[in-house]
């Protein structure tokens, strides 16, 4: 059964890199495990590395015995790069990828953009605003890192066929070419994509909205000098009445995204003889290129009502799905695993109650809702659903040529940035007056230079009390980072609004939990307890 299923997948999914199908595990036909992750995509692999480098044994089940090619995620945000850096692969990803910070929006045949944006408005941070990198390259990088952690067991060609949720564990039935077996896992994390098998097997909801439009995604190999920027066109002469998006990827691969409209022949439109004219109209009749992969997409915005179902946890596309405008799919998935990893770690170590995981549900749902809201608004601007909506859209573009105010209405995708949880259940509200300065509880830590490196390199994995001067406190499970004597701390002190004696408490996922102008041990201890879920309802 497993073999037949693999053959079916191979007919439909292109292969980037072969992986050898994994044998039956030693524990078969029935084994016990602490953590099982379903899915060998970037989200599942990042979750495995996160938990693996915290010392937990992790089994990762992948239905494929290969890394797939195809039109997948390419744009990775600064926040994702910060997360990847914590997982030990941030620098490698930046080195392999194409760095970009600027986006330009064009209208019709005009050479000057009607709108431009900068994805790294705050300079002097380790990571750039964005990189573009093919998902398969990133998966290779993550696989390389996972391979160095002996406690991560990746099983290729092992497909989940049944899930039996219980109070103390989850029964996971697995099918592979080598045979079928069952794992009794303490925790199951479903990172198995928008068609999640785990979600389907549990009969869980995935409600939302389908956008009645089709987009052709053409990844092509082409030599040529163009800036590393995101270029977007509304109603260009080479795709009249529709939009086009151009992104540079490593290895001379370019992604072009053509809006096609609703009533089209979806099979015909990906045939090379139908794609060629679009590419030639855009890049000139003499342009030389080779197709890498063509596919056609219809966009949807959906999410599960809850991401935490007892001992089954959902992360990434299995839990929420957005349109690609804004690069909020895979980046949203990385935000999930970043939020979940340290919480599950504390629960597994017995340092927090399982109620802490409810805060994952609250914060990850908030992230998903912000991503869905932004993605829906962008999609409505890019593909107006009525005549009057199209007229307003064009009025914005027309006015944007002359009047700066209208440029802020131009929405070709609001690109993914870290989501804040101002009302998050783990935050300790400010008791002091910060006069509008610093980073408020519930916000991601802002990077800044420190000594010969960066602040974010010193945060993560544990609670850190970032202070300007030694507050002389001894709080269990909190590491003090007194920057008062460290070189090049000026920008850091300014960004966190840290006067002498002040301190900011930062969670293991580099989010600010609390801050004080003059901290005391009791307040810090209480804030740590709250951040570990002590006040969860």
């Amino acid at each position: 059964m497993g073999e037949a299923s693999l053959v079916q997948w191979r007919e439909r999914v292109p292969v980037w890199r072969e992986k050898e199908a994994s044998p039956l595990p030693a524990g078969a036909p029935r084994e016990k495990a602490q953590i099982v992750i379903v899915g060998t995509g970037p989200v599942g692999l990042a979750q495995a590395i996160d938990l693996g480098q915290r010392g937990h044994d992790v089994i990762v089940l992948g239905r494929f015995d290969f890394v797939p090619l195809g039109s997948k995620a390419i744009c990775f945000s600064k926040r994702s790069l910060d997360i990847l850096d914590r997982l030990g692969v941030g620098e490698k990803a930046v080195e392999r990828g194409v760095v970009w910070n600027a986006g330009k929006v064009f209208w019709k045949d005009e050479r000057e953009p009607v709108y431009q944006f900068d994805m790294l408005p705050v300079k002097n941070q380790k990571m750039p605003g964005f990189i573009n990198i093919q998902q398969y390259h990133l998966e290779d990088i993550l696989l390389d890192r996972a391979g160095k952690l002996p406690n991560i067991d990746i099983r290729w060609g092992h497909e989940v066929t049944g899930v039996e949720p219980g109070h103390t564990d989850v029964g996971v039935s697995v099918s592979s070419a080598a045979g079928d077996y069952r794992i009794d896992a303490e925790w199951l994390i479903a990172c198995d994509g928008n068609k999640s098998t785990v979600r389907d097997l549990l009969g869980l909801d995935f409600d939302g909205r389908v956008f009645e439009d089709n987009f052709l995604i053409a990844d092509i190999r082409m030599k040529g000098e163009r800036p590393s920027e995101r270029w977007f066109w509304f109603d260009p002469p080479f795709n009249p009445g529709q939009s086009v998006l151009l992104h540079k990827q490593p290895d001379d691969v370019w992604r072009i995204d053509f809006q096609l409209g609703w009533n089209i022949d979806r099979e015909a439109c990906v045939r090379p003889e139908n794609v060629d004219p679009l590419i030639h109209a855009m890049l000139g009749p003499d342009v030389e290129y080779e197709p890498e992969w063509y596919s056609v997409y219809t966009f949807q915005c959906r999410r599960m009502a809850r991401f935490v179902h007892g001992r089954v946890l959902f992360a990434g596309d299995s839990a929420h799905l957005v349109s690609p405008f804004g690069a909020r799919g895979c980046n949203g998935g990385f935000a999930d695993i970043d939020n979940l990893g340290w919480k599950l770690d504390l629960v597994l170590r017995g340092e927090a109650d399982t109620e802490l995981l409810e805060s994952y549900n609250i914060e990850a749902v908030a992230t998903a809702d912000e991503n869905i809201l932004n993605s829906t608004r962008s999609t409505d601007f890019i593909t107006p659903k009525s005549k009057v909506s199209a007229i307003f859209r064009d009025a914005v573009l027309e006015l944007a040529r002359t009047f700066p105010f209208a440029r802020s209405f131009v929405n070709s995708g609001r690109l993914s940035t870290a989501v804040c949880y101002p009302d998050g259940p783990l935050n300790t509200p400010d008791r002091d007056d910060w006069h509008g300065s610093g980073v408020v509880p519930g916000s991601p830590a802002l990077d800044a230079p420190l000594e010969d490196g960066w602040l974010l390199e010193r945060l993560g994995e544990r609670f850190v009390l970032l202070s300007n001067g030694d507050p002389g406190l001894d709080v269990p499970d909190v590491e003090l980072l007194d920057v008062s004597g460290i070189a090049h701390n000026e920008l850091l002190l300014e960004r966190y609004g840290l006067c002498t004696g002040a301190a900011t408490l930062i969670r293991p996922d580099q989010y600010v939990a609390a801050r004080w102008t003059s901290p005391d041990a009791a307040a810090v201890g209480e804030a740590v307890a709250r951040a570990k879920g002590a006040k969860m309802p």
Binding site: K387, V388, I391, F392, D394, A395, V396, E398, L399, F403, F405, A406, F409
Partner: protein, 65 residues
């Protein structure tokens, strides 16, 4: 209530005339286009989201919108 709904403009007849003149000789579609530009310019000038949302509510004819 952020939106001013009591008389707030001295030359009501004059500005009304200018508004209608804007549409003279235009097709319905063209009128929709200039109306859209006008609304966007005015929204930015007002600059108060609450006031604009109140205006949208009144304009919709549905107070519970």
């Amino acid at each position: 209530m952020k939106l001013i709904t009591s008389p707030n403009i001295a030359e009501a007849d004059g500005i009304y005339e200018t508004l209608i003149a804007l549409h003279a000789g235009r097709s319905e579609e063209d009128s929709m286009v200039v109306n859209a530009r006008l609304i966007l310019l005015l929204i930015n000038h007002i600059g108060d989201v609450e006031a604009v949302e109140e205006a949208i509510r009144h304009a919709s004819g549905k107070e519970d919108l």
